[in-house]
């Protein structure tokens, strides 16, 4: 009865522009179920842009390239043709670096609606939501696993949350929605060392806990630090510079970048470093006007 699960998220030659300015200049990336990839790079190199483009933010214009889900039977689904909600229902998830507040909407009500839609991709608007009791029990269990106060479910979504609370709320959504592919955009920023460790453990548990329709989640972790990777050892580490992935390696690359920064990368890829400089200048010009 279920369609074959997506096995890979495949990005080819992706160019993305925001307000006419090209940010991504040809990105290739392929993530399989059960794989953890780390994406690192200096600020402004285009990491978050990649996340938004995969999720379908309307301000991010795809000028060239493709994003596809490839299923186990070989069928390919064009992700770019989908609205953001369709992408979510197809199993893609983005943990936001800066999640939006939705005043007046309780975390539990919001999540119940989201979970219902994502688990029943063909659900029509207005149809019944997941039974309350079943949902509550599941939410309670997930919150306990994440050491979250049960009162959290009654608060308004991200409204007045601290930085740490927002990140935990994103992880809770990840746990409830169980996507096939998750992009975690700096889910460690603004957290202290203990909180990052907890986040790292939680993500590892959620990722291997059986994603919807597949055995394990494919995860792209955007981070500046290797600590979040402690329990999520990446199969591959990618370095983004000037809108391109310039180098890919194993977990040792993440450790190197964390310790030594991006000087070696800039020196090794002068063209990308020049693009980075040009993008910075344009941003500075825009900010000045």
């Amino acid at each position: 009865m279920t369609a074959p699960a997506a096995e890979r998220l495949v990005i080819k030659g992706l160019h993305v522009a925001v307000e006419g300015q090209e940010i991504l200049k040809g990105v290739d990336l392929s993530i399989g179920c059960g794989e953890v990839h780390a994406l690192m790079g200096p600020n402004g190199s285009g990491k978050s842009t990649l996340g938004y483009a995969i999720m379908g933010h309307p301000s991010y214009e795809i000028t060239a390239g493709s994003i596809e889900l490839v299923k186990s039977d070989g069928t390919r689904i064009d992700v770019l043709a989908m609205e953001p909600d369709e992408r979510a229902r197809a199993g893609i998830f983005l943990a936001f670096q800066r999640p939006m507040a939705i005043p007046g909407v309780r975390v539990a009500d919001f999540l119940r609606h989201c979970v219902t839609n994502v688990r029943n991709p063909d659900r029509k608007e207005g149809e019944e939501l997941m039974p309350m009791r079943e949902f509550r029990n599941e939410l309670k269990a997930k919150m306990a696993e994440l050491s979250m106060d049960p009162d959290f479910a009654r608060r308004y979504v991200n409204d007045g949350f601290s930085g740490g609370e927002m990140k935990r709320a994103e992880i809770l959504q990840l746990a409830m929605l169980k996507p096939t592919f998750a992009i975690l955009d700096e889910t460690d920023s603004g957290l202290d060392a203990d909180a990052v460790r907890l986040a790292s453990e939680s993500i590892a548990r959620i990722g291997s806990g059986g994603a919807q329709g597949s055995s394990e989640m494919g995860i792209l972790i955007i981070t500046h630090h290797e600590q979040l990777l402690e329990h999520n050892v990446p199969l591959k580490t990618h370095v983004m510079l000037g809108g391109r992935i310039v180098e890919s390696g194993g977990p040792e690359l993440a450790a190197e970048l964390h310790k030594k920064g991006y000087e070696r990368i800039r020196a090794a890829y002068p063209e990308a470093a020049a693009a980075e400089k040009a993008m910075e200048d344009t941003r500075a010009d825009l900010a000045a006007t």
Partner: protein, 470 residues
């Protein structure tokens, strides 16, 4: 994305006015069209009213005729001579359920309106079977000395009590539409809660609903005696149909020493209606008056529930929600008048406009000389859903006393692309995401409603939001 707006909007309940629900053939008596002393006298005669009421009506007509139309608020295109002012209903069934259009039945379905109420609301039944459903409640109330009846019956059966208060809170001279209502009123509720009596459940107009109670010119009077408590819920959230274009009600409330009254209204008029209502309460020493007022539908609503804080310690709270869609102007707000020291008032107003609708907040906070140590706060928030829609704020503050504390906050916001994207990235459609944002916006007021009304209110918002995007 924007192209479907006009077509899809027609599916909403706002379009229900295009169906004809007249049941003229069943009326046993109908005053002719138009308004003059003969018609007013005839209405009084048909109702077997005492002379004082007949005189009150005739005097009110003179006041109505002498008053100019308001020059503020919304645009009023009313021909007063082209309206039936009185239609005596019959108990006969006007038409059959089969004749009710499918779309309306569907709306009832989705709102979860009980079967018996649907038939009444759709004009199939002139009389709602309140005796059967709510008989035991009525008995319980009567034992406590509570009077809860329609105002016509009260004129006959509780004449002295009614006469003592009728027209004292809102005299016919107050405004042109109060004068009109005073001349031609019919139906409405009369409630008296004796000293110290608390009514634990909300009193609902459903309990004694009949065709007259939901007429065009309802007249409601509530007297809450010392230390008594009541919560009255007027009308219902189901769409209301009428072939007449003018609704002009008057609601008067007196809350005596340490009494408490909450009056909740959710109105959802058809799109052709001018809804011009005067609502006012007098709160005495230590009393609390709360208005909770939700306005959907109508062509133009002008409604500003007021609380006059007459004695020390009196408190007034007004919470209002207005939802203006295509072709609709909600000119709604609130008034708090501090006429005594140590009184406090709070106004919270939320408006939503979409599809070219216009929502205006119009409010007054007045502090009279001598009302020292008074406190008042006004918060009005507007949410505009698209570039075609409009929101205005007209806050009037008149303070004639130094030693007071008055606060006013206003905000206008649009649904942000970032909020929508965030919700859509979690699997909600654009329409579901917008509805959720709007639902969150009005949540602070919806949570004040009795449970079943909160559920209906949320469903109504969903219906209003359907087809607004996509």
């Amino acid at each position: 994305m924007a192209t479907g707006l006009e077509e899809t909007n027609e599916l909403g309940i706002g379009e229900i006015n295009k169906y004809d629900f007249r049941t003229e053939s069943t009326a046993v008596f109908k005053a002719r069209k138009g308004l003059d002393a003969a018609i007013v006298a005839q209405i009084s005669e048909m109702k077997n009213e005492p002379t004082w009421m007949r005189d009150f009506r005739l005097k009110s007509l003179e006041i109505f005729e002498s008053k100019a139309m308001p020059e503020w608020g919304g645009r009023l295109g009313i021909n007063f001579q082209d309206i039936f002012y009185y239609l005596k209903p019959t108990d006969k069934q006007g038409k059959t359920w089969d004749e009710v259009p499918e779309s309306i039945k569907e709306t009832f379905d989705r709102l979860g309106i009980p079967e018996a109420e649907r038939k009444f609301l759709a004009g199939v039944k002139a009389q709602f079977e309140s005796e059967v459903v709510y008989g035991s409640l009525q008995e319980d109330l009567a034992q406590k000395g509570v009077i809860f009846t329609d105002t016509d019956t009260a004129v006959r059966e509780h004449s002295d009590l009614l006469r003592e208060y009728f027209g004292t809170v809102i005299p016919p001279t107050d405004n042109k539409f109060a004068a009109l209502n005073s001349a031609v009123w019919s139906g409405g509720s009369f409630i008296y809660v004796p000293k110290g009596v608390s009514i634990e459940f909300p009193l609902q107009a459903y309990f004694r609903i009949n065709a007259e109670s939901m007429g065009q010119f309802e007249r409601t009077l509530i007297i809450v005696d010392e230390g008594a408590h009541v919560h009255y819920v007027e009308g219902c959230t189901a769409p209301m149909y009428s072939t007449e274009s003018l609704h002009s009600a008057v609601v008067e409330i007196v809350v005596k020493k340490h009494g408490r009254c909450r009056y909740t209204t959710i109105q959802n008029w058809a799109n052709n209606i001018y809804n011009l209502v005067t609502k006012r309460a007098m709160a005495y020493e230590g009393a609390l008056m709360e208005w909770i007022d939700g306005n959907l539908g109508s062509q133009l609503t002008m409604k500003y529930p007021a609380v006059y804080l007459m004695e020390p310690g009196a408190r007034g709270e007004i919470l209002s929600i207005a939802f203006a869609s295509a072709g609709q102007h909600q000119d709604a707000g609130a008034k708090i008048v501090h006429a005594a020291p140590h009184t406090s008032g709070r106004i919270v107003s939320k408006s939503i406009s979409k599809n070219g609708g216009r929502a205006s907040y119009r409010g007054l906070v007045k502090v009279e000389p001598g009302a020292t140590k008074s406190k008042s706060s006004v918060v009005c928030d507007a949410l505009i859903l698209d570039d075609k829609s409009r929101s205005d704020t007209y806050p009037y503050i008149e303070i004639e006393e130094q030693d007071v504390s008055i606060g006013h906050e206003a905000s206008v916001s649009k649904i942000g692309e970032e909020q929508l994207f965030y919700l859509m990235s979690r699997g909600l459609t654009e329409a579901e995401a917008s509805t959720m944002i709007v639902g969150g916006f009005i949540e602070p007021l919806v949570k004040e409603l009795p449970m079943e009304y909160a559920v209906e209110m949320n469903k109504l918002i969903q219906l209003q939001m359907e087809g607004s995007v996509g």
